[in-house]
Amino acid sequence: MEAEPTAKLVVAAAAGERWAWDELVSRFAGLVWSIPRDHGLSPADAADVSQTTWLRLAEHLDRIRDPERLCAWLATTARNESVRTLRRAQRQRPLDPASLSFIREDGRSVESGLLEAERDAALWRAFEALPSFCQVLLRTLMSDPAPSYADVSELLGMPVGSIGPKRNRCLDRLRRRSEFARPLPKDTGTSSDRRAVG
């Protein structure tokens, strides 16, 4: 990927360059969105957290100490705001934390309708149960276009050499959890009509 380094985009956006801001948004909007969603927030709350995160970035552009680590800054800001939103929601209406990852506040159950099969549900549950550094790393690797390891290194502030091993370890964990989380097959109805993904 021959993209502008993130740090350059931050500096350009801080200088008022609109194109640089747009590029930052297109690069990280998915990551910023995923964090409140991974915390179980509803789409409306996640939209608030996302917008607040970007508004904060706009104000902080020339104050970011380490522009190379913008990705981590965005992730931390979105996470803090998600936790705050979650606490307020819990105060108003106690939630069962165990249910957060599976049942969204909009009533969508990951198991119902949206997922083609129990296997996908198990895989997604396993992903949501991963430690946050694994989620952030994998989410970053899922970006479109796929980032190079050099980009990931810059985004997450990790040495290039450690990305491969960490990726493998996170995927191993995902695989193990996914197998563990997989419900016992009930009947033959859902397992045969699976479509390939990706």
Binding site: W21, G30, V32, T52, L55, R84, R91, V197
Partner: protein, 152 residues
Amino acid sequence: MTMTDLEDDDQLLARLTGLARRIDPVPSEVVAAATGSFAWRTIDLELAELVYDSAEEPDLVGVRSEGGGRHLTFATDTVTVEMEIGEAGGVVGQLVPPQPAAIEIRHRSSTTALVADHLGRFQGPGVPSGPMSLRCRPDSGRGAIATDWLVI
């Protein structure tokens, strides 16, 4: 699709990627809001950081602040803004040190203009839930600030 597919790292990641897009794509209005945030930049004001948020405090049984509103404090080295957002969104605030100022509450897509009196007190009608930030320009012309954004 069998278990062997998931034994390959690349296939597992590809499957997860497809799953993420299918389950939870970023809504286009969320991307538009992120893009539009650039227009809200404040370049000439000092940034006041959030230093206290009652929503962060653990619930104390039997101890409830009167009114049940949310208390926020933003501060720079020279000015502190204390404010309470009531249940209905109404705003009551105090500048420290006390001083008259023009206050602007920015929310979602518009702003609400208020005035702080000579004792630094200000008060305003309901602010819609969502992202919120406050700008304060003291009549003295010194120490203008903008607060961090947060979700109310």
